[in-house]
């Protein structure tokens, strides 16, 4: 039996090492007191906060969705499940507000299926 392939958790370590930065250096750039926080994010022991994800984008120019694919996938799955439930709840709606919401949910679903490059914002 073949073992399950583990997905890549995040690319923070890769990008940090590509640019020759140490964990304490990156921690100080991101505004953390210790390198332990960077280590925890790199090893997937804790999810990045909005602040740290945006700080990474500022430093490396990589959007959080690409830098933290695992976290993005988890959040996407959770949100899409909620969207689906709300979409079902609004299936019989005829008012304009309800239809507008359904349109948003369809777009979100299309983006999720089409991948990150689908950026329809109608």
């Amino acid at each position: 039996m073949k073992k399950i392939n583990r997905k890549v958790l995040c690319y923070l370590r890769t990008h940090r090492r590509v640019w020759g930065l140490t964990q304490p250096e990156l921690a100080s750039l991101m505004g953390f007191k210790s390198a332990a926080h960077v280590s925890r994010i790199e090893n997937g022991k804790c999810a990045p906060t909005v602040e740290s994800a945006l700080a990474c984008q500022v430093i490396f120019g990589i959007p959080p969705r690409v830098m933290f694919p695992h976290t993005h996938a988890l959040i996407e799955e959770k949100v899409m499940r909620n969207i689906y439930q709300m979409h079902l709840a609004l299936s019989n709606t005829t008012n304009l507000s309800g239809l507008r919401k359904r349109e948003l949910f369809s777009l979100a679903l299309k983006r999720a299926i089409g991948g990150p490059n689908t950026l329809d914002r109608t």
């Binding site: 073992k3 583990r6 890769t14 090492r17 590509v18 990589i62 830098m67």
Partner: protein, 172 residues
């Protein structure tokens, strides 16, 4: 480096007298993780194997690339040859596909860029993959022992040879 669709990882290992170097690739030009681990304990092979197993458990690579030491032209020590035999068993036990790359295959792969010596190959790699550019060791003089960083480039060369044989590569 493209991360839109994380591909299967390829792990290349290059043991040397003081430890081993490893590189994990997502593609021929996108290394994911790399490093040189020095092992100073008495039972080097056992400890090295433990460390490699940790890497395999952590990243679950699809392919393990090692040097082919079965040929008569191989000049690796008996300890390293034994370690390679242990790695073959480890790959089997962990269900990781094994690829053994001979020295002649490696030289043939880098011949197209005019690199034949270890240093020239390291320079060619540093030009192609900027992530390693700042880790290039100084030119080795006859009286100098080999820099541990050189083993990192040897591991990269093994990985790139694998890609040259299986997927498109910048060197073919």
């Amino acid at each position: 480096m493209t991360h839109e669709n994380p591909q299967n990882l390829v792990l290349s290992i290059y043991p040397f007298s003081r430890g081993f170097a490893f590189v994990l690739f997502e593609g021929p030009e996108s290394p994911f993780d790399w490093g040189v681990k020095e092992i100073k304990e008495k039972h080097k092979n056992t400890k090295t194997l433990d460390e490699i197993k940790k890497i395999i458990d952590r990243y679950r690579p699809e392919v393990l690339v090692i040097e082919d030491t079965t040929g008569k032209d191989s000049r690796r020590t008996s300890r390293i040859r034994k370690l390679y035999r242990m790695l073959v068993h480890l790959a089997e036990a962990e269900y990781v596909e094994l690829y053994r790359c001979s020295k002649s295959e490696l030289k043939q792969c880098f011949a197209s860029v005019g690199a034949s010596t270890k240093y020239e190959i390291a320079k060619a790699i540093a030009t192609q993959i900027p992530a390693f550019a700042h880790r290039i060791p100084p030119f080795r003089k006859p009286w100098m022992s080999e820099d541990p960083r050189q083993s990192l480039f040897d591991a990269v060369a093994l990985g790139l040879t694998y890609f040259a044989r299986h997927i498109r590569s910048p060197y073919v």
